[in-house]
């Protein structure tokens, strides 16, 4: 069985993606984005949604951080910290892999 996500740490060349069965969905009723998974739902604020929308398995962590640092005009180190923390938490919940 393929095991990704929790075997090795999240490096700059990792290409994070939502696991199959996990979906980012816009919900007008909830006024924003929600992350949907089997028997679980999470509310994604604007920043979390911006991060997750880029986790397609194509972009590297490094590219995602560059992109968001430019978009928000924020220091790269801080963006890297925020993104890494969110992605590690999601991998722990088995919602994301790389």
């Amino acid at each position: 069985m393929l095991e990704t996500g929790d075997r090795h740490s999240l490096g700059p060349e990792a290409r994070p993606r939502l696991r199959r069965g996990v979906r980012l969905q816009h919900s007008p009723a909830h006024g924003g984005y929600v992350l949907l998974a089997p028997e679980r739902v999470f509310k994604a604020d604007a920043i979390a949604a911006a991060i997750l929308a880029r986790c397609t398995g194509e972009a590297t962590l490094s590219a995602i951080v560059d992109d968001l640092a430019t978009l928000y005009g924020a220091p790269r180190e801080r963006v890297l910290g925020d993104v890494s923390a969110l992605l590690a938490g999601l991998a722990e919940k088995k919602l994301l892999e790389w």
Binding site: R20, R23, S27, A29, H30, P38, F42, D45, I47, L86
Partner: protein, 388 residues
Amino acid sequence: MVNAEPFRSPPAPLAGEGGRGRAAEPPGLPRPLGLLAELTHRCPLGCPYCSNPLALEGRDAELDSATWARVFREAAALGVLQVHLSGGEPAARHDLIEIARAAREAGLYVNLVTSGIGLTGERIRALAEAGVDHVQLSIQDSEADSADRIAGYRGAFRRKTALAAEIVRLGLPLTVNAVVHRANIDRIAAMVELAAALGAGRVEIAHVQYYGWALRNRAALMPTREQVERAAATVAALRARYRRQIVIDSVVPDYHARFPKPCLGGWGRRSLNVTPAGRVLPCHAAEVIPGLEFWSVRDHPLAEIWEHSPAFRAFRGTAWMQEPCARCPRREQDFGGCRCQAFLLTGDAAATDPVCHLSPRHHEIAALAAAQADRPYRYRRMPASAGA
């Protein structure tokens, strides 16, 4: 339909100011998150633990796919995020693919709750393409002969395991729902091993809850206390052993618990259930409570039913509670337990669920939990006139 339990809590925030806690509920009417769509009561299996009502609805009464599509759109607008396509056996509907596609197009997360019987490889591929996000497949045991005997259907086990392989091959996430009772509770480890071998990401050890057909078969299904205690130890050991491979969900079976289950996270608070004929219930067993007035999606928009129908208003909040619930510090945590169970066991739907150790009737639960009888199952069957 076995044991679909829509989630009980509002969405947890992923990041930002909410930290690890739950998102704050806006004041006013709560927002439903889950919809149990009972597409049909028809089912080829006869499981004696089925929680469907004894009075099953026939094919002629079923909503058509266009009505389901409207219900899904109304549900999404109301806040529902996940739909559980259930039954009966949803695959008994020839228009299941169309229904699943409509649910996905409404923006809902589509969970297919199935026995697997009636789903060919070709059909499951079409369902995946139509937007089914996740499949929950029931198994009756780890051994074919016993599984088929419980299901009342020869060959069911072999067909289920073949279908599971196809689901996993397609990359669809799979949960195996293992319904547990006296005849198979000693094989929980083998059932988890089977689920893992089939490639499921998650397995639910679903202890039977006594509604509908299961209530009728209670003494034949009830595990002994020793079995329940062994099962709890087994599950703990399995969780450690399979930690990296499969998620194991299990709760203490009702009649052996100290506190009642917070039924669906509170009456009319998190979820709703639409019957094959279109009646909207706060939970799938609610029709056992006499005197409740249920409205139908044929006559009212879903939002109006959620807010105004007498059945949803009957036990929403805490104002209806009696002692010991009314002043209990856990009243907003377990909501007095299950209203249907309170009625079924005490005759009063507003009583404390007798599963709670604070209920004056709790001793009766202990007596029922100790009542085992090896009598033949009364299998779930449609009445001859219902057009099964």
